[in-house]
């Protein structure tokens, strides 16, 4: 079971590279934010998976914090792009 | 005052879920419960201006929550269909995008938010903008069939469900 979780995590990390490529290429800034958002989601998924892989309950708290707070950063960038603030 | 209390109760429930399995009073230890009550009162006082800003307590009705759980079933089915649809489009690259406008006719903030998020998560649609006064949604649709679509086409009958849940 454990190695399955690890392999899934490796896959998620490989998918993160796509997000990074989008940040590099992204012609406009919103494209880059989309890339960041994707990486965020994948990191949260990876954290949950790795928490199960290590059999450590308390690690999942990190994923919760991340899920709640990565939103804040995205919102700030979005607000800047809107021209408000 | 009332909003603070309701917020505190909801915060307390969340706290209990977070600390499950710490003791033997059901699932919780006594210290945990005391701390939870104190903390949720504080959270209620500081969060009272947001969660029930309009003194709108209709979500406290348990019937609406049962509806909400029932709503999850068609929602998940639609979501799965959406993902298969998007998968198809990712692989073939066949898209026909555009931004259309719908008027779901929902009154409450929660209702329109729920609808917008549901739309974002389902068939090839993404809520881009909202008209603050009339609650009209502008939706980016990955496969535009009509330029003036009716609501059913875009949102799979979600508004009916949401009207029952949130209004």
């Amino acid at each position: 079971m454990m190695e399955t979780f690890f392999i899934v995590a490796v896959f998620l990390l490989i998918f993160m590279i796509f997000g990074v490529i989008r940040i590099i290429l992204g012609p406009t800034t919103p494209d880059r934010v989309v890339g960041l958002d994707t990486i965020n989601t994948l990191v949260i998924a990876a954290m949950i998976i790795l928490g199960a892989a290590y059999n450590e309950v308390i690690y999942i708290d990190v994923a919760i914090v991340y899920a709640l707070l990565s939103f804040v950063g995205t919102l700030y960038i979005a607000k800047y792009l809107e021209g408000g603030l | 005052m009332r909003s603070a209390l309701v917020t505190a109760v909801m915060a307390f429930i969340l706290y209990l879920i977070l600390t499950v399995g710490t003791g033997d009073i059901l699932f919780w230890s006594s210290a945990e419960i005391v701390a939870g009550i104190l903390l949720s009162i504080v959270a209620g006082i500081f969060g009272r201006k947001l969660l029930f800003k309009n003194e709108d307590y209709r979500m406290l009705n348990p019937k609406r929550w049962i509806y909400f759980i029932a709503y999850l079933c068609p929602f998940l089915v639609a979501m799965a269909r959406a993902n298969i649809d998007v998968a198809y489009r990712v692989i073939t690259g066949r898209i026909n995008p555009g931004i259309v406008k719908i008027s779901p006719g929902l009154k409450t903030d929660l209702g329109i938010t729920m609808l917008a998020n549901s739309i974002t998560l389902t068939p090839g649609t993404l809520s881009v903008e909202i008209n603050e006064k009339t609650n009209d949604l502008y939706i980016h649709w990955i496969n535009v069939k009509h330029k003036e679509p009716n609501i059913e086409e875009v949102c799979n009958g979600f508004p009916k469900w949401i009207r029952r849940i949130a209004e």
């Binding site: 290590y54 059999n55 450590e56 309950v57 308390i58 690690y59 | -």
Partner: protein, 114 residues
């Protein structure tokens, strides 16, 4: 060689930060460079304390007995908060500089010289 890859990554982060500090003229870029140096140092500290096949030094529901070294984690915690404090202060100064000079180019922000 591959064993020490995390250490090498820390060194690369520090060097990248130094490069930014020396060659980039934008003040906010300079702050970004400082942040990179700080990230490198933090990663270095955490990497120092890692032991393979060990768990975090928390006894609550740990799965194994072996634990990684806890001191670097405490130090890094301190270091992260210090980094945030410096970043906040330095960015405030940048805003103020822009208000007075109408530019944040380091080669133009130099009324003080000689």
């Amino acid at each position: 060689m591959i064993d020490n890859l995390p250490f090498i990554a820390c060194a690369i982060l520090v060097i990248l930060g130094l490069y930014t500090l020396t060659f980039k003229r934008n003040l906010i870029k300079i702050v970004i460079g400082l942040n990179l140096v700080e990230s490198g140092v933090n990663l270095f500290l955490i990497t120092l304390g890692y032991k393979s096949n060990a768990v975090a030094p928390i006894y609550t529901m740990a799965a194994k007995e072996e634990m990684v070294l806890p001191t670097p984690q405490a130090l890094t915690l301190t270091s992260i908060v210090i980094g945030l404090a410096t970043t906040a202060l330095i960015l405030s100064f940048t805003i103020l500089i822009y208000k007075h000079y109408k530019t944040i180019d380091a080669s133009k922000v130099r009324r003080l010289r000689e």
